[in-house]
């Protein structure tokens, strides 16, 4: 089941990714479906190995060659799975672009930052003059909050701090005003004050270009501040999907509940309470348990049900689905607030 948004920009249906290996097939991503409307911010949350980055790689058409993909990814009305590489290349960077986690390795150390931004523009548009290209690069650096862009444009990446490199990378990603920006853990390696600057830049860009943002992160705090809707992934599947308020306040899946309960919080009252601990760890994709993949770690799992039958995604509220046998329907929010 999926939630199709009206005027969907992106519609992912039954996306599965399998890696062939000597020890058999590894089903890294299983039946993932979700949609994104134009201008929307979607948070994709999960721990390492949940498949969140693989989902973005599949959308960008950047999976490794040994990956077997099935399902459907429709972007602006075009099917991306099975599309020609030339067609994808035309979309990448112009219509959709990705901001990756590691800004240090994503930039080329032997070219200036300005040259790399200009290259990002020229790949899709070779008409502008050198003067125009440079002006556009300067405007982009200004947009992402680099102080005195004209004195910085000819710097090399090593002359930039970590936060500035991430901003330069964002400038390259948004150079052609893409309709979809995928940000894969864009602030994970950064300090919290720098993270605030980067999230601020992303919000400003989104406001200006009306692009959609898919924010992939393990940080539920970042999601709470940025996303309109959230997809929670666990062991290669979607565990829960909801509007941001429902996800945090009408949480339906025990895994999501566990993730929220195990977070130390800045707004906690004191240090006396111990944190909830989700026992065990996420299974490897080659060795998933029968039934619900979360049942060995779940504190409400029912023997005879959860360890036998794999649950389907069930609708628990408007636009709110959870892959759990025990999830119950919550009441709609008549006034748009909770309960």
């Amino acid at each position: 089941m999926s939630i199709a948004s009206d005027g969907a920009l992106l519609q992912v249906e039954g996306l599965s990714v399998t890696f062939r290996s000597r020890d058999g097939d590894i089903n890294a991503l299983r039946d993932v479906s979700f949609g994104m409307a134009a201008g929307e911010s979607l948070g994709v949350v999960g721990e390492s190995g949940s498949g969140k980055s693989l989902t973005s790689a599949a959308i960008m058409g950047l999976l490794p060659a040994n990956a077997v993909v099935s399902g459907s990814i429709r972007f602006m009305g075009r099917e991306l799975l099975g599309a020609k590489e030339s067609e994808l290349r035309d979309l990448r960077g112009r219509r959709m672009s990705i901001i990756s986690q590691n800004a240090l390795t994503a930039l080329n150390p032997v070219h200036t930052v300005g040259a790399q931004i200009i290259e990002a523009i020229r790949v899709h548009d070779d008409r502008p003059s050198r003067r125009e290209l440079r002006d556009r690069a300067l405007a982009l650096l200004d947009l992402v909050g680099i102080p005195q862009p004209s004195s910085r444009i000819d710097n090399y990446p090593h002359e930039f701090s970590g936060g500035m490199r991430q901003r330069a990378l964002i400038a390259m990603s948004v150079a052609n005003e893409p309709d979809l920006i995928i940000a894969d853990e864009p602030t994970t390696a950064l300090d919290v004050t720098v993270q605030a600057q980067i999230l601020d830049v992303l919000a400003r860009i989104q406001e200006r270009t009306r692009s959609s943002l898919m924010l992939i992160t393990h940080d539920l705090g970042v999601v709470a501040g940025v996303a309109d809707r959230v997809v929670v992934m666990y062991s290669g599947s979607i565990a829960e999907q909801a509007d941001v308020d429902d996800l945090f306040h009408q949480t339906a899946h025990p895994y999501t509940r566990g993730l929220l309960a195990c977070l130390p919080r800045l707004d906690a009252r004191d240090r006396s309470t111990s944190l909830y601990r989700i026992p065990g760890f996420q299974p490897s994709p080659s060795d998933r348990p029968d039934g619900c993949t979360f049942h060995p770690r779940c504190d409400v799992a029912k023997p005879g049900l959860c360890d036998v039958d794999a649950p389907l995604l069930i609708e628990v509220g408007a636009g709110h689905i959870a892959r759990c046998h025990l999830a119950v329907r919550h009441h709609p929010r008549p006034d748009g607030s909770d309960q």
Partner: protein
Amino acid sequence: MSALLEVRDLVKEYPVRRGLLRREIGSVKAVNGVSLTLERGRTLGLVGETGCGKSTVGRCLVRLVEPTSGAVYLDGENLTEMSGRDLRAARRRIQLVFQDPYASLDPRQSVGAIIAEPLHLHHLERGNEQARIANLLDLVGLSQSVRDQYPHELSGGQRQRVGIARALALEPEVIVLDEPVSALDVSIQAGVLNLLEELQQRLDLAYLFISHDLSVVRHVSHEVAVMYLGRIVERVDADRLYSSPKHPYTKAMLSAVPVPDPRIERSRQRIVLEGDLPSPLDLPGGCAFRSRCWKQTDRCAIGPSLIDEQGHAVACHHPELE
């Protein structure tokens, strides 16, 4: 009575060399006059961003890094002046747990051998070693079956528990925890934090908890010290730091930490700091934070000293009111 651990005016300078002959052209003060005290059974959180010198402080305490000047007293005895047998004996009492459980365990040693190594080095528990290893595994919540396994066979959380067991082997009184949960997934992190708290209660351990994560520090600490470019800019008990920060830097940092609740997030006022951390090679004179501070005035050209008022110490000419 003196504190269990007392750090006084700790300074660590690194020479800066340039050119073919590696001539010394100056120095960087990674730690610039840090003083701390830590009592038995308590946790002092040391927070700050990349490059503020917090890890260097931790390393100076166990003399993995030799401080340039200053003193570290353990029960009144100056660790920085010790050598030979005295230092060896003192080191048993203060241990370090590293951030990266993937890099800090020898991949060629079994878990049992890793935990037993400190015992060998200090010639302890001879003849009784196996029982002691079993006991340590129990203490950190690992099953006895991991004893013969190698680090690559363990998960991140299990590895960090091995690191903690190794630190506990010598029955220390102080443990310096350098970003002990930063490399772990959140569901695993909670288990390690709970374990540290249990161990503290059972063994009356004192922790210096070094972290960049303010939510984690909030959860574990009794008292918190905030570092910026080598200095402590604010120090107070954890509740007061989070409810009424006085230093503009602390205030900005706290406002930037996301809270996992969309309603709270929508209503929060975030202070977004301008610019980047200044280079430690080229620090502004006076208050090191003034180049990014919205409250800075001419007075800030003279560096403020850390002044303690009713247990709330702050180094700022224009502190927020409590």
